[in-house]
Amino acid sequence: MASFLDKSRTVAPPGYSRWLIPPAALCVHLCIGQAYAFSVFNLPMTKLLGITKSAPDDWNIPQLGWIFTIGIFVLGFSAAFLGRWVEDGGPRKAMFTAALCFGFGFFISAIGVAIHNLWVVYLGWGVVGGFGLGIGYISPVSTLIKWFPDRPGMATGMAIMGFGGAALIASPLSVWLMNQFSSNTHIGVAETFAVMGAIYLCFMMVGAWIVRIPAPGWRPEGYVAPRVSPLITTNHVYVYQALKTPQFWLIWWVLCLNVTAGIGVLGQASAMSQEMFPGRVTAVAAAGFVGLMSLFNMGGRFFWASISDYIGRKNTYFVFFALGAVLYALVPTTGAIGSVELFVICFLVIISMYGGGFATVPAYLRDMFGTRYVGAIHGMLITAWSMAGVFGPVLVNYIREYQITHGVPKAQAYNITMYVMAGLLVIGFLCNLAIKAVNARHHMTADEAELAI
């Protein structure tokens, strides 16, 4: 088994098509992105004992919310601290480990639900599954970048598009499975967890099985190295050395601010659309709006990351921040003039750029720090996502509450939030503006780079 997982066993033979690699990455990301759909279990898990309504000993929503929070925290922690191990061990070992963690996270959670012990669910999906999320998220990044040196944005965009698209599969699948296993006296969450764990374990194992790394020195046919540009290095920066550069922290803030602006409204989109247009946007239409946002979140990841290969990473983020700030500032006006169409368009573009921010950042890191440790450096950067996951919703919720308690009508309660989000994007614009090439003193020497892995 050890030899099957060994990096040397994953080197592609001559003539191997590089287009066989994105499906391997998608096998992993289409599973771990289930995290975005975890909330479909919240309501059923509040009625495991009472069945038709919550019993006194049933879990409540705040208690259940911790499952997702722990999972996302462990995702950031494991991506940051295990990135070097992922890079050294190669993609197959990482994907294999991620599959075991994510699959068994579900199995442990199934036991937790069956015995009605929430701590076991925290341990299962939150901690064990969280390690699967973190390791799985970064596992294919550097492999894809090495296979697609001419289009790194598109390559990583494809994988990270899978993460955004996973919820589109997991959400209806979870609901369907729960319906199959539920009866008048039982809610089938435990069985659904067990089946989903088995599906994800198998699906991710296929990814680990088919992934390959290019042979040393491999280049795609007809490959022409990009024009010399100060913002695309041909050198490499050691993972921990990258933390000492201002570029890493500027990109950290670029990601954090872009995600903060998007994630805050993503969770509130349904309520916001109904409150800003009372009587015009029904609950059913709002659910449709959320579905449309999911599609644009997914599509934006591929679209914007692919565009970045042509216009450059820095310019892509300039578009995110400048256009995003204008659109956010425009949202209150859409409410004032009662234009649902304009409101929907604004948010669809915003959410596509939110997804695009995730998908473009691995290629930005590759441009700045080289390919040698890009996966591990990307892992460190994921902490920006964890931070934004806290900041974004808190900002939106607290500002809204503050407005309402001070007598602002619900239809206008999001106006200040929109201007704050626009302001955050302006700060992101300035951070992006400050990004310059990494100082040569941080580069690895040719010998170090050769010996590094």
Binding site: G165, L168, L295
Partner: protein, 34 residues
């Protein structure tokens, strides 16, 4: 197995579930316009 067949199998393996999810979501999203 040829590269072509492998490409069809691998892309089908990930593409079919993703397409199913996209269609399900698109049907749901269509309610916005009703």
């Amino acid at each position: 197995m040829s590269n072509g067949l492998k490409l069809v199998l691998e892309w089908g393996f990930v593409g079919i579930p993703l397409a199913w999810g996209v269609i399900e979501t698109a049907i749901n999203a269509a309610k916005l316009f009703q």
